[in-house]
C-alpha cells in the first residue's frame, strides 16, 4: 500500500521531488532575470568602488620607479642616523637614469612630497643633473649625490623612501586622520596642520544642523498635510513636490541670487530699513549660506517620510485622549508625537545621509568656510592630484554613510523607501 504514503505527480515522480524541482526552476528563473542588472551594477559601480578602496592603500610607485634602490635600501638602518651605503647610492643613480628617460621621477617626487615637503624639488633637480653623470666613470656615487644636493646625505629623505617602499601603505589613511609617521612611530600632526579631522567634524556638525532645521521646518508641514482633508492636502503637497522635482542646480542658483550681498534678500532688508546699505548681511560663501540652501534642498526628504508615517496615525487617538481630559498640548505630546517618532527617525537618517556627502551646493554657496569633506575629496582628485589621499578620505566617508545606511535599513527597511 505504498501508494497512500508517497503522493505522485502527474509524471510519476514523487510530489516532493516534483515540487523541489519546480521551486528550483523558479529560483533560477528569478536569478536569470536579475542577473543582467546585477552584473551591470557590479561592473560599473561596485568594481569602481572596490578599485577606489584599493587605490587608497596602493603604493607601487616607489617600487616601480626605483626597483633596485628599494632592494638595496631594505637593509639600511634608519635609526643609525647615517646615510645609506655606497651600493644604495649606485642603485639610485642607475634607477634614476631609467626614470628620467621616462620622466617618471617627477611623479615619484610629487608622490613623496605628500609625505615630506621638498622631496619633489629634490627629485626634479637631481633628475636634471643626473643626465650628465657618467655611470661607469663615477668613483663615489655618494659624493656625486652630495654634489647634486646636500639633502641626499640627510637620513630624512631615505627614511621616507624606506617607509614607502612597500607595495601597500597606510600613509593616506594616516594623513586623512591627521596622523603622520614620525621618527618614533605614528604621531599626531601639529595643531595648525590638522585639517581633515576638523573638516570631518564640521561636515558632521553642519549635517546635524541641517537635519535639525529640516525636522523643525518639516514637522509642522507634514502634520498639516496629514491632518487636512484630502483635497486641500493634495494641493499643498504640490508645493512640497515642486522643489523636490526642480533641478538641484536651479535651486542652488536661486539661493545664490537671493543670498548675495547685492541680492534680493539684502535689497529687501535695505529697502525696509532693517539693515543699513553699507552693512549688508553676509549670507553667502559661509556656513550660513550652506545651511540655508541645503535645508531648502533637503526639506522634502524630511517631509515625505514624516507625512507617510503621520498618515497612518488614526485621528481618533487624539480625540480619545482629549475626551479623557487631556488638553491639546498633552494629547499631542503624549499620544501623537510618540507615534510620529519613526517618521522623524526615517527622515533624519535620510537627510543626514544625503547631506553628509553633498558636493555641488557647498561648492557654490559655501565659500571656504562652508564646505564639506566631499569638496576636499574633489579638490584632491582634480586639483592637487593626490588621488590616494582623495581615495582614503572617500573610503572613510563611505564607511560612515554605509553605517548610517545599515541603521536606516534596520529601522525603516530599504524596501519601504517611497518616491514622491
Amino acid at each position: 500500500m505504498s501508494n497512500t504514503e508517497t503522493v505522485l505527480a502527474s509524471d510519476g515522480s514523487s510530489l516532493k521531488q516534483s515540487l523541489a524541482r519546480s521551486l528550483r526552476r523558479q529560483k533560477i528563473r528569478a536569478l536569470l532575470l536579475i542577473a543582467p542588472l546585477l552584473l551591470f551594477v557590479l561592473l560599473t559601480f561596485i568594481a569602481p568602488i572596490v578599485d577606489m578602496l584599493f587605490r587608497s592603500v596602493e603604493n607601487s610607485i616607489v617600487q616601480e620607479t626605483l626597483p633596485t634602490t628599494v632592494v638595496e635600501l631594505a637593509s639600511w638602518d634608519a635609526e643609525s642616523g647615517n646615510p645609506p651605503s655606497e651600493a644604495v647610492f649606485e642603485a639610485l643613480a642607475r634607477d634614476l637614469k631609467v626614470a628620467v628617460a621616462s620622466k617618471s621621477h617627477t611623479r615619484l617626487g610629487s608622490r613623496l612630497n605628500y609625505e615630506q615637503t621638498g622631496v619633489s624639488s629634490l627629485f626634479r633637480q637631481t633628475g636634471r643633473q643626473i643626465k650628465k653623470l657618467d655611470l661607469e666613470a663615477t668613483p663615489s656615487f655618494k659624493d656625486a649625490f652630495e654634489k647634486m644636493n646636500k639633502r641626499w646625505l640627510e637620513p630624512e629623505v631615505w627614511t621616507v623612501l624606506q617607509a614607502f617602499s612597500g607595495k601597500y601603505t597606510d600613509g593616506y589613511f594616516l594623513a586623512a586622520a591627521d596622523l603622520t609617521r614620525g621618527a618614533d612611530g605614528i604621531e599626531v600632526v601639529p595643531e595648525d596642520e590638522k585639517i581633515y579631522f576638523k573638516l570631518f567634524l564640521r561636515t558632521l556638525q553642519m549635517s546635524m544642523t541641517i537635519t535639525i532645521m529640516c525636522i523643525l521646518l518639516g514637522y509642522p508641514i507634514a502634520f498639516l498635510l496629514a491632518t487636512l482633508p484630502l483635497r486641500s492636502s493634495n494641493m499643498l503637497m504640490i508645493l512640497v513636490l515642486l522643489p523636490f522635482w526642480t533641478s538641484l542646480l536651479v535651486r542652488t542658483s536661486a539661493w545664490k541670487v537671493l543670498l548675495q550681498q547685492q541680492g534680493v534678500i539684502n535689497d529687501f532688508l535695505v529697502w525696509a530699513h532693517i539693515v543699513a546699505d553699507d552693512n549688508r548681511l553676509e549670507l553667502i560663501n559661509n556656513v550660513t549660506g550652506t545651511v540655508i540652501a541645503m535645508t531648502h534642498i533637503l526639506l522634502p526628504f524630511m517631509i515625505l517620510p514624516l507625512f507617510s508615517v503621520m498618515k497612518t496615525i488614526p485621528p481618533t487617538y487624539m480625540r480619545a485622549a482629549k475626551s479623557m481630559g487631556a488638553n491639546d498640548f498633552t494629547a499631542f505630546r503624549r499620544v501623537y508625537f510618540p507615534q510620529s517618532i519613526p517618521g522623524i527617525g526615517a527622515g533624519s537618517i535620510l537627510v543626514f545621509i544625503l547631506s553628509i556627502g553633498y558636493y555641488i551646493t557647498p561648492e557654490i554657496v559655501g565659500g571656504t568656510k562652508g564646505v564639506f569633506i566631499s569638496n576636499r575629496i574633489a579638490y584632491h582628485i582634480s586639483s592637487s592630484l593626490n588621488w590616494g589621499l582623495g581615495a582614503a578620505l572617500g573610503a572613510i566617508l563611505l564607511v560612515v554613510v554605509l553605517a548610517l545606511y545599515w541603521m536606516y535599513d534596520k529601522f525603516v527597511g530599504i524596501d519601504n523607501v517611497k518616491l514622491g
Binding site: 546585477l38 569602481p48 498639516l224 508645493l239 566631499s374 574633489a378 566617508l397
Partner: protein, 283 residues
C-alpha cells in the same frame, strides 16, 4: 482639522498661529524657485529686481537672456549633450531595471536582501564617491571622457529609482492574471507583453522619468567621468555659477522649472491611472 465652534481664544490663536507658521515654511519652500522666473526677464544683467521691474514698466523686462540661451553655442551644445546622454542612460536602466524588478518580486529569490542592497547602493553612496571611483576606474579601462562612459555611469545611478518604483507597482500585481493567461495557452513572452507589461507600465514609466531626471540633472559624476565633449546642461550651469555668473542661467533655470512642472503633472496622472487600474480609489 477645522476649528470647532467651542474653541477657546487660546485655541483659536494657536489654530491661526500654526497656519501662519506653515504658510511661512511653504513660502520658504516655494519662493526661491518662483523668484527666478521674473528675474529671468530682467532687461539688465543684474540678479536683483531693478527699479523699472518693480514699477512694472515694459522697458524693465526683456527676453534677451532667453535669446542668448537659444543662440549661444555653449548652451546649445550643452543642451544637445544632455539630450543625447539622458535618453540612452534611461533606456539602459529601465530595460535592465524592469527585468530585475520582475525577478525580485518572485516569491522565492535567494539572497534577496543582498541583491537588493547592491542594486540600491548607487542611490546611497554619496555622489562624490561614485564620481571619484568611476573616474579612477574608467580611466584605467579607457572609458573616462567618452560618451559611453557617461551613459553607463548615469544609467547605473538611475537603476535604484527604476527598481524601487517598479517593485512598488508589482507588489499590488495579481499573480492569478498571469496564471490565467498561461492557462489559456499564452507563452511566457506573450503573457509578459499582453498581461503584465500593460499593468506595470505606469510604474515603469515613472521609474523611467526618475532615471531620466537623475541623468538630466546630474553634475558631479559627469564632471569627473566626462570631458569637454560631454558638457551637459547642469555642468554648464555649474561652471556658470562658479566662474562668470551670467543671467542666462536664470533663463535656463526657468525653462527647467517649467519642465519639472510638466514632469510632476505627468507623474501624478500616471499614479492616478495606476491606482485606477489596480482598483484603488484615487487619492
Amino acid at each position: 482639522m477645522a476649528l470647532p465652534i467651542y474653541a477657546s481664544p487660546l485655541q483659536t490663536a494657536w489654530y491661526y498661529g500654526f497656519r501662519f507658521i506653515c504658510a511661512v515654511i511653504f513660502f520658504f519652500l516655494i519662493f526661491p524657485i518662483m523668484v527666478i522666473i521674473p528675474l529671468s526677464f530682467n532687461a539688465q544683467d543684474f540678479f536683483t529686481f531693478t527699479p523699472e521691474m518693480l514699477a512694472f514698466k515694459a522697458e524693465g523686462y526683456s527676453t534677451k537672456h532667453y535669446q542668448d540661451f537659444f543662440t549661444n553655442s555653449d548652451w546649445q551644445n550643452a543642451l544637445r549633450n544632455s539630450l543625447r546622454i539622458a535618453p540612452m542612460a534611461t533606456l539602459l536602466s529601465v530595460s535592465f531595471g524592469t527585468l530585475a524588478a520582475i525577478g525580485l518580486s518572485q516569491s522565492h529569490v535567494p539572497f534577496r536582501r543582498a541583491i537588493m542592497a547592491i542594486l540600491i547602493s548607487p542611490m546611497i553612496v554619496p555622489l562624490i564617491i561614485s564620481a571619484a571611483s568611476m573616474y579612477f576606474f574608467f580611466s584605467r579601462i579607457g572609458l573616462q571622457g567618452t560618451y559611453m562612459g557617461v551613459v553607463l555611469a548615469h544609467a547605473v545611478l538611475g537603476v535604484p529609482f527604476v527598481i524601487i518604483t517598479v517593485t512598488a507597482t508589482l507588489v499590488g500585481f495579481d499573480k492569478s492574471l498571469t496564471r490565467a493567461a498561461a492557462n489559456m495557452g499564452a507563452g511566457p513572452v506573450r503573457t509578459f507583453f499582453k498581461i503584465q507589461m500593460p499593468l506595470i507600465l505606469p510604474g515603469v514609466i515613472s521609474g523611467g522619468l526618475f532615471a531620466f531626471i537623475t541623468s538630466f540633472d546630474e553634475v558631479v559624476v559627469v564632471l569627473f567621468v566626462g570631458s569637454a565633449g560631454q558638457k551637459t546642461l547642469p555642468w554648464q550651469m555649474f561652471t556658470g555659477l562658479r566662474e562668470q555668473i551670467s543671467p542666462t542661467i536664470l533663463a535656463v533655470a526657468t525653462i527647467l522649472i517649467v519642465v519639472s512642472i510638466m514632469l510632476l503633472t505627468t507623474l501624478e496622472l500616471l499614479r492616478r491611472r495606476s491606482e485606477r487600474l489596480r482598483g484603488m480609489s484615487p487619492g
